[in-house]
Symmetry: C2
Subunit: 208 residues, 2 copies
DNA sequence: GTCTATATACGGATAGAC
DNA sequence: GTCTATCCGTATATAGAC
């Protein structure tokens, strides 16, 4: 029987990767047992080592892919020369919120694992280069010069856009408990924010 | 030799607790080895179990204390009937930023550990009651009625205040890498935010 | 109360049959 | 490629001497 490796996610290797992504995202590296992954994938524990050599190697792979997905999805938006700064903020908020409704554990996963591994991955991803040299940032600087935006530190702007978008997902257990919200009610609240965030950010950035 | 139990942190029990707090906050429950705690405390591993029975019991204690400290420090602010809403936002931002500069790992610690343990602690802490029945929230509602604030969902207001304050500390590895900042430069940026956040929040909340 | 030595359990990884 | 059985290091926890 030839395994259907091209059909997408049915190959054993893909099943393991998908299971690993799920479990690692939920429990982090230290909290995950290879046995959990094997069970989730519906395969035998030995196969995990057969395909990926070790827990660490499998984790590194998932971590890299996760961060790439998270960044790559924004590169296009940031560097579109045909859209205004404000519409870029709209696009970022909208896309991230859609993504995070599907995979809400990603930010906490990335940030938790990054505290252990300080500089390793961050430089490899050239995070700084991708964002800081983008059209997005150039447009921001232009608006500051034109007086449309108060001349605060650029990082405040970035923190605010990302924070308003991502933070509620990081803190969702607390927020859901505070408002006594179901998962659906919480998600609806996040969808509301898609329209608010660009307006909010612009209002903030007029403040000196 | 009588151990100086009253002198503060010199008793063995306190030494272990302080070490445990430090290590758990940095590495989380799963990532921490009891040996790390013993070493950090400068005591023998067996003493840890002598005083606290198990890793789990010690962790539960630290977790509870950490969350209480985090909430308790705000109860006073939230319920002060003699200060305006805006000055409460100022006080919250200012106090949290001071606290987080001293102990920046706390938010990530709480949120990471909360994703595992869903409802257990949150209800025990009566988070909802403390905040939702506070003077802070009553004043917010009054300003909405008076038309000073656009009638958005109350949770957006809370998410925004807390998010703008806490998020940068959660994401600090990424942000520091983005801006190529030393710890000191990062902290200075956070101090700047003390003054900005109340202004920003007010500007946002006028937006419909 | 504090130590050394040790029991016990658990998790990652491999050997080897099929 | 996939399984069962097992090895072996590591981590929590306890026993027992001092």
């Amino acid at each position: 029987m030839v395994p259907n490796e091209k059909k997408g996610d049915t190959s054993t290797e893909e099943k393991i990767k998908n299971a690993a992504r799920l479990v690692f995202h939920q429990k982090g590296y230290a909290g995950t047992r290879t046995r959990d992954i094997a069970e989730q994938a519906g395969i035998n524990l030995a196969l995990l080592n057969y395909y990926f050599r070790s827990k660490q190697k499998l984790f590194d792979l998932i971590m890299l892919e996760t961060m790439q997905d998270f960044i790559q999805s924004m590169k296009t938006v940031f560097n579109d020369k045909n859209t205004s700064l404000q519409s870029k903020v709209e696009a970022v908020a909208s896309r991230y919120i859609d993504l995070l409704i599907k995979e809400p554990e990603i930010p906490l996963f990335i940030m938790s694992e990054l505290r252990a591994n300080p500089e390793g991955l961050l430089q490899k991803m050239k995070f700084q280069e991708v964002l800081m040299k983008s059209t997005f940032i150039r447009q921001y600087r232009i608006e500051v010069v034109k007086g449309e935006i108060a001349p605060q530190n650029l990082l405040h702007f970035i923190i605010n856009v990302i924070g308003l978008t991502v933070f509620p997902f990081v803190a969702s257990p607390i927020l859901r408990s505070l408002g006594d919200l179901t998962k659906e009610q919480f998600n609806a609240l996040m969808v509301e924010r898609k329209a608010f965030i660009p307006k909010w950010v612009y209002a903030m950035m007029k403040v000196s």
